[in-house]
């Protein structure tokens, strides 16, 4: 049978607190705070009405983020898809127990990471969040050789001017495709925890609060991981855009 279902109180993204109606056959809700969003409540009611469309909407809405997160745990795309499928089965089974004390999204992603962890352990893979490995404390955003050393009053300032990059606005679609591939590869090369955080924040557009809730990270650690990930991707783009590296 599935994972123990997460059951934690936290503030929902957007901060809206909506009383969640007790499920049929369950005991009445207590006076605790509930954090499902209004949209969650609508979706849950639809699911309980056998609304297949609502389920399809939910599956499609979260597919991209779920696949990316699952992919950081398991070996192949095929297994990641299975993890996503198993997660949805666990979500359906657990639906009557969902108390609305977290947002639906947070709850789904907690189940996803548990499912992916179990699968990764079975595959003999290291689990990204086994302990929150932030990496070396002294990881620098920019290589120290890029700054002046010594004791002058310019020490710690840029040693050589930075180049401006080409405009990345939507009109510049031509360079966009190769650049996107470059970014995807840079993200794949990141340590897994950084990869998950930058994926959810910058590709999937989650808020900091949502990432902290779903991954059980502190705000400070989430920001540190995001900082390191963005710094590394910037470095990779710099090498590519400024031509110091051939596109392979």
């Amino acid at each position: 049978m599935g994972q123990p279902l997460p059951n934690v109180a936290m503030s929902a993204p957007g901060g809206e607190r909506v009383a969640f109606r007790a499920v049929e056959g369950e005991q009445q809700e207590t006076a605790e705070a509930f954090f499902a969003t209004p949209d969650d409540v609508r979706l849950l009611e639809a699911l309980r009405r056998d609304d297949k469309e609502a389920f399809a909407t939910l599956v499609d809405r979260h597919a991209s983020a779920m696949l990316r997160v699952a992919s950081t745990y398991v070996r192949s795309r095929a297994v990641a898809e299975e993890v996503v499928q198993d997660t949805w089965i666990a979500v359906l089974r657990g639906l009557t127990r969902f108390e609305g004390r977290a947002s639906l999204k947070t709850w789904i992603f907690r189940i996803l990471t548990n499912t992916a962890k179990t699968r990764a352990e079975r595959e003999g893979r290291t689990v990204p969040f086994a302990d929150v490995t932030l990496g070396p404390e002294d990881e620098l955003s920019v290589s120290p050789e890029r700054f002046l050393g010594g004791r002058s009053d310019r020490a710690g300032w840029w040693a050589a001017p930075l180049q401006r990059w080409p405009d990345d606005k939507p009109a510049e679609q031509l360079f966009a495709r190769e650049t996107r591939e470059r970014i995807s590869r840079a993200i794949e090369a990141l340590p897994s925890v950084q990869r998950i955080v930058i994926t959810l924040r910058d590709i999937e557009g989650w808020s900091a609060e949502e990432v902290c809730s779903a991954l059980e990270l502190s705000d400070g650690n989430q920001r540190l991981l995001l900082h390191r990930a963005r710094s590394r991707v910037r470095h990779s783009l710099e090498r590519y855009l400024e031509g110091s590296e051939e596109l392979t």
């Binding site: 898809e81 359906l92 300032w157």
Partner: protein, 86 residues
Amino acid sequence: MTASTDLTCKQLVELVTDYLEEKLPTAERERFEDHLAACDDCSVYVEQIQQTIRMTGAVTEESLSPEARDTLLRAFDDWNAGARSG
């Protein structure tokens, strides 16, 4: 350009995310902005980070294979059938 602020470029690059996430305490934010006003290269650096964020946001979304999606929608029917009979 003279080193007129007490924050170095090397220090500033470590604070960029805190700055963009609006998590710097007021005094630190002012030091950060004073440095930016005095340093073209750091302004370029912050712009590059913002470009990185925008371009990362343009990475194509993933989607489930049609087979996996179909399997899930069938599972939903089974789940409903189970719920009704149970």
